[in-house]
């Protein structure tokens, strides 16, 4: 959707579509050049275990676009828990979480880019995880019941949304009382310039 519009002139739906299109492109052509880093080398630089990355199918991390390698450990996901991952992408964190919660637990991954979900589905099936459910949905409108998950995680999704408050409200709604949300996110030291605000490309940086 390179319609030349400024971000500020776009509706939240248009922005959501812009994001879905961009990540569809990433899922289909992870080796293209983007204004943000993608892939296994980037995951390694962030601190994901080299052993893990090398022992997994390369498709698991080649479309990786998260922002932190600490998220899964900090989520403290435990056996038997139900974890919701917002923006699961190609499924790298999803696979790690599925390993943590075990056969009695469940990981629900949502993503707004269908090709990303397809990629994650293939990867997780290949790894033998059957405790994972992958759904196409925006984080602002979750297809889950109230009070249904123990923990929500995300790895760099809020910066892409025009309605961040809606995501927070949805997280709170689906969490069980006492549940936690652990979110890795890019934040800024100073406010972005107007040019950066306006640019569709900079929306992803």
């Amino acid at each position: 959707m390179s319609n030349g519009k400024k971000i500020g002139e776009m509706t939240p739906q248009e922005i959501r579509q812009l994001v879905a299109e961009k990540y569809t492109e990433v899922a289909q052509a992870p080796r293209n050049r983007y204004k943000f880093r993608v892939g296994t080398g980037y995951a390694r630089d962030l601190g994901y275990s080299v052993t893990l990355l090398e022992s997994s199918p390369s498709a698991l991390s080649e479309a990786f676009t998260g922002v932190s390698a600490s998220l899964v450990a900090l989520s403290e996901a435990k056996p038997g828990e139900t974890i919701l991952e917002l923006g699961c992408g190609g499924g790298l964190d999803t696979a790690l979480l599925a390993g943590r919660v075990g056969a009695n637990g469940r990981v629900i991954g949502i993503d707004c880019a269908e090709p990303m979900l397809k990629r994650a589905r293939t990867n997780l099936r290949q790894l033998g995880y059957i405790n994972v459910m992958l759904l196409p949905a925006p984080a602002e409108n979750l297809p889950l019941a109230d009070n249904s998950v123990d923990c929500v995680v995300s790895n760099g999704i809020f910066n892409l949304s025009a309605d961040k408050d809606a995501i927070f409200a949805e997280i709170r709604r689906v969490l069980k009382p006492g549940g936690r949300t652990v979110n890795a996110e890019i934040v800024l030291r100073t406010e972005p310039t107007q040019a950066e605000r306006d640019s569709q490309e900079d929306w992803f940086t």
Partner: protein
């Protein structure tokens, strides 16, 4: 979005315990202005909603479980404890004495409502009433279960004998504010530790059930376990009393214990005003704590004190009175 802006959104969405777990460099983009945080927040655990019993006139028989009775005015006492919520002292000679006629009137009204609450006879120091034991004998003869709250200073062998003779006396509750003369007497007055111990001995010798009441405060919070052991040695129950920001406690700047003393068994979430009313100086009040507060006066009769209007008045008190906040926080 700044770090602060991000965290503010958690708060805005009603999350609690918002915390940044790590800050890491941004490796995703070339933006030197950006860095990565991992934040965590919780959806608060829903507290089980206490089911409050409905104290009502229509169902007084089942809902009126307690009646606090002040045979003398709350501020009339032979001691002047530093934490007294009524700032009672020997200098405050309020002449009110509960009469036998008054007591009979109370019983008549209880009978007409079909209610037989447990009576808590308190003060002030109730033993300063010259006919206390005659009044208690009436209570006992009518078959009401009751208890007596006293500082023990006027419980000698003769009084202990009296008390031992009551069939329906459930316990005598005596205050002790420290496990040593120094700690106790700083609150109750010189020599009181020994006098309290003597009273407990007189009662226990005659197998009268005794409860030792301690008010956990900053000054005794490190000695609560000792008091508990002391009570166990004496064969007495231990009761924790809440410290209210009223009376002498304000003047003396006393603070409640920072550590909550452990309590075995299920917590009683029923407030005093949920299960009864207090009768003091000829009037009914919402609870024994607020008997000197005109706002808590519910009427001259039980039927007034249990009326729907009076119950609404109690609900309004809970929203406005600092003492109510103490009860709601600490249960009663």
């Amino acid at each position: 979005m700044s770090e602060k802006g991000f965290l503010t959104r958690y708060i805005g969405a009603d999350f609690t315990k918002v915390e940044i777990l790590t800050r890491e460099p941004n490796k995703r983009t070339k933006n030197p202005n950006a860095y990565v945080i991992v934040a965590r927040a919780y959806k608060e655990q829903a507290l089980p909603m206490p089911v409050r019993p409905e104290l009502s006139l229509a169902n007084a028989r089942d809902s009126l479980k307690e009646l606090w009775l002040f045979p003398i005015a709350p501020e009339f006492c032979n001691l002047a404890c530093t934490h007294c919520l009524y700032a009672a002292s020997p200098l405050r000679k309020n002449p009110y004495r509960l009469t036998e006629e008054e007591l009979t009137r109370i019983f008549t009204e209880l009978d007409s409502l079909g209610a037989a609450p447990h009576l808590l006879v308190t003060g002030g120091e109730p033993t300063l009433h010259p006919q206390l034991y005659t009044l208690l004998a009436q209570v006992d003869q009518r078959g009401y279960s009751f208890q007596l709250h006293t500082n023990g200073t006027r419980i000698h062998p003769k009084e202990a004998e009296h008390l031992a003779g009551f069939a329906h006396l459930k316990k005598v509750q005596i205050s002790l504010e420290g496990p040593s003369p120094e700690l106790n007497d700083a609150v109750m007055g010189q020599g009181l530790y020994q006098r309290v111990l003597r009273a407990i001995a007189e009662l226990r010798t005659r197998e009268v059930p005794v409860a030792i009441a301690v008010t956990p405060m900053e000054s005794n919070q490190d000695h609560l376990t000792q008091i508990e052991q002391f009570a166990e040695e004496k064969g007495a129950e231990l009761v924790h009393i809440l410290l209210y920001d009223l009376g002498a406690a304000i003047d003396n700047g006393l603070k409640p214990a920072a550590v909550t003393p452990h309590n075995d068994g299920p917590m009683d979430i029923t407030l005093m005003c949920d299960k009864g009313v207090a009768y003091s100086e000829g009037k009914y009040f919402a609870c024994p704590v607020l008997v000197k507060d005109p706002d808590a006066r519910l009427g001259n009769s039980l039927s007034e004190a249990l009326s729907p209007q009076a119950r609404e008045q109690v609900m309004r008190l809970r929203d406005t009175k600092a003492a109510c906040a103490v009860c709601l926080k600490g249960s009663s």
